[in-house]
C-alpha cells in the first residue's frame, strides 16, 4: 500500500497515547528517543494524539520536543476505539510519510500498532527496549532491539525495504526528557471524518480496578516465579513481602497459575518497576520477565538452580532450596537491627 523511499528518514512520527486528557508516561519516553534519533538525521519529529480534547497534551508534546503535533479530536474518541484510531493513525502516516513510527507498548499500543502496520503492509517490531540508527548497506536504517529468550541475549531487528519502519517501545525502559516551555511547535488540531465503519468494535466504558497501582511506587518488590510454589505458595510470598516492607508481584508462570493476580505481573506483557530493592524468588529469569525490573536499584535473586539466568541480572544471589532459604530470610528480616 505504502512504499515510500527506504532511504528517507526525514520524518519520525510518535503516537502519543493519552487517557482522560493526560499523556501516558511512555509517550514522553518515546518522544525523547525520537528527538535523539532525529538530531543526526536532520529529521522532523511529529506526534499524533487522538482523543476528546488533546489541547493540554499537544502543548506538552511540543515542550518535550515535537516539531509538529496532529491532534485528532472528537467526543467519540474519549476511549480507545480500535477501528477509528487505526484509521486516523494510518491516514496521518500516509500523508506525512515518516521513515519511522514509534508507539508505546501499552495494552492499547499493542493493539493499534499491529493493525496499522498490517494495513500499511509494513514491518513492526514489538516491545523494543531500544531503537538506534545504523549504517547498513550504505544507508541509515533504524535497528530495533528486543530481548531474546534467555539471559542477557538481545536480538536486533531491521525492516530493510518497507516504510515506515514501525516499533512499539516498552514503557519504562527509556527516560523522558525535560520539558522546555519556550519550545515552539506547530499544532494541527482537526476533527477526523468518522463513519460507522470506524466503530465496528465500540468501547463503551472504562472501568478502573483497584490493585497493582502501588506497585510502581513501592520501595521494595518481592516477586515470585514458578519455582516458588513448591516452597510455600502465596502465603509465604506475602510473608516475605511483609517482612521486607514491600509488596508482592510475580512472573508470567506464577500469574498463569493464579498465585499472583494479572495486575501484579512483572515483565514484557505486565508491569515495569524500578524499586530500591527487587527480590526475585523461584523465577529462572526469562528475559520477558527480567526486563520488567532491570532498572531496580538493587536486585536480589533466589533460585534453586545456581545456573539460572536470573543471576545474570542480579546484584546478590542465593542458590538453594527455597523451602529452607525463604523461611530463613523471613526470620532474618524480622529480626530487629
Amino acid at each position: 500500500m505504502m512504499h515510500s523511499n527506504p532511504d528517507s528518514m526525514k520524518e519520525i512520527l510518535v503516537w502519543a497515547e493519552q487517557r482522560d486528557g493526560r499523556l501516558m508516561p511512555v509517550a514522553l519516553e518515546i518522544l525523547r528517543k525520537a528527538r535523539e534519533l532525529a538530531g543526526p538525521l536532520g529529521a522532523r519529529v511529529s506526534a499524533v494524539v487522538i482523543g476528546e480534547d488533546c489541547s493540554v497534551c499537544a502543548a506538552e508534546l511540543v515542550a518535550h520536543g515535537a516539531d509538529r503535533v496532529f491532534a485528532a479530536q472528537d467526543a467519540r474518541l474519549h476511549l480507545y476505539q480500535a477501528d477509528a484510531f487505526t484509521a486516523i493513525l494510518c491516514r496521518i502516516i500516509v500523508e506525512t510519510r515518516p521513515g519511522l513510527v514509534l508507539l508505546g507498548a501499552t495494552s492499547v499500543g499493542a493493539d493499534l500498532a499491529p493493525a496499522a502496520a498490517a494495513r500499511l503492509a509494513t514491518g513492526l517490531t514489538a516491545h523494543c527496549t531500544d531503537v538506534h540508527v545504523e549504517q547498513i548497506d550504505g544507508r541509515a536504517q533504524p535497528v530495533m532491539t528486543v530481548p531474546g529468550w534467555r539471559g542477557s541475549m538481545m536480538v536486533k531487528i531491521v525492516c530493510p525495504e518497507k516504510r515506515p519502519v514501525m516499533a512499539t517501545i516498552r514503557p519504562g525502559v527509556m527516560d523522558r526528557g525535560v520539558p522546555d516551555a519556550s519550545r515552539r511547535g506547530q499544532i494541527v488540531t482537526f476533527e477526523p471524518a468518522l463513519g460507522d465503519g470506524d466503530f465496528r468494535a465500540r468501547a463503551l466504558e472504562w472501568v478502573p480496578e483497584a490493585g497493582g497501582g502501588e506497585l510502581e511506587q513501592a520501595k521494595v518488590v518481592v516477586s515470585g516465579g514458578f519455582g516458588f510454589y513448591e516452597a510455600g505458595g502465596t502465603a509465604l510470598l506475602e510473608e516475605l513481602a511483609l517482612a521486607a516492607g514491600g509488596v508482592t508481584a510475580g512472573s508470567r508462570p506464577a500469574c498463569d497459575a493464579g498465585w499472583v493476580p494479572e495486575s501484579r505481573l512483572i515483565g514484557q506483557s505486565g508491569r515495569t518497576v524500578s524499586p530500591d530493592l527487587f527480590i526475585s524468588v523461584g523465577a529462572s529469569g526469562a528475559p520477558h520477565y527480567t526486563t520488567g525490573f532491570a532498572k531496580s536499584k538493587i536486585v536480589v535473586a533466589v533460585d534453586r538452580n545456581p545456573k539460572a539466568p536470573v543471576f545474570d541480572v542480579a546484584d546478590f544471589g542465593i542458590a538453594g532450596d527455597l523451602r529452607e532459604v525463604l523461611p530463613a530470610l523471613v526470620e532474618e528480616l524480622r529480626r530487629k537491627t
Binding site: Y80, A82, S107, D111, L112, P114, A115, A117, A118, R119, T122, G123, L124, T125, A126, H127, V143, W149, S152, M153, M154, V155, K156, I157, V158, C159, A201, R202, A203, L204, E205, W206, V207, P208, G212, G245, C255, D256, E262, L277, A286, I298, V299, A301, P306, P309, F311, V313, A314, D315, F316, G317, I318, G320, E324, L329, E331, E332, L333, R335
Partner: protein, 270 residues
Amino acid sequence: MPLRILVCIKQVPEPEQFDRMTLDPATGSIDRAGIAPVTNAVDRHALEEALRIREALGGAVTVLTMGPPQARKCLEDALAMGADRGVLLCDTAFAGADTLATSAVLAAGIRSAGEFDLVLCGNESVDGATGQVPAQLAEALGWPRVTFARKIEWVQDGRIARVEREIEGGILRVEVGLPAVIAVVKRINRYRLPTIFGILEAGKKEIAEVGCSGCECAGLVAAAMGLGGSPTRVAGIFQSHRKRQVEMIGGDAKEAARALVARLREMDAL
C-alpha cells in the same frame, strides 16, 4: 444463533526449555531441535472459550494452525478437547514468516476452510511473544478485533459480543458485532482436559491440509508468504552489557539469609 467458530492455535517449544533454543546468527532462524513442542498455553483457553460458546449457542468449532508437519499434534490435542475439525497450514513456502506474513497466510487459510462468524486466538505466543498476530489477522480478514479479552458475553442471540478487555489499571467494556476476531487472555476461563472418549473420538475427525496453492486459491499471492512476505528481519544477536555483577552468597540457608540481610541493611536497602 449457532456460531461457526475458528480457533487459531500455535505449536511452541516447551517454555521450560527455552534456554536450549539457539539462533543461527547468519539466517536469524531459531533452532528448536530436541525441545518438546507443546500447544501455546493461552491458545487452549481460546479453544475452551470456543467450546463453551458452542455449548451455549450451538455451532461448530474448527481449529487451525500454521506450522511444520509435526504441528498436526496440537490439532489432534484440540480435537480431543472437543473441536470438530482441524486445518493444518503446512508448506515450506510459509517458513520464516514474521507476523505480517503469518497473518496473511492464516487469513487465506481461514478463507479456504469455509465461512466463519468468529475467530478466536490466544493473545500472544510464549515464543515470539509479540502479540501482533490477532490484530494483523483481523486486518487481513477485514474484520474488527478485540484483543486482551478476559470475558465474553453474548447478546442479541449471539450476534453481538460484549467483551471485557483488559487495559492498564482496569478494563474497557467493548461491544462488537460478528464477524470479528477476539484474542483472549488466560484468565478468561479454566480449560478442560481431554477425556478418554474425546481422545478416541478425535481419531475419527478430519484434519485438512492446506498448502501454498490452497492459499493462492484463497487470493493470497505467494510473494506475501513466508520469509519473502516478511518486512522484518533478524539482523543479529548480541549479549547485553551486564550492568550487574552478581555476588553469590554461600553457606547454609540460615548463614546465607543472615549475610544477605546484613548486606542489604548496610546498603540502606531495607
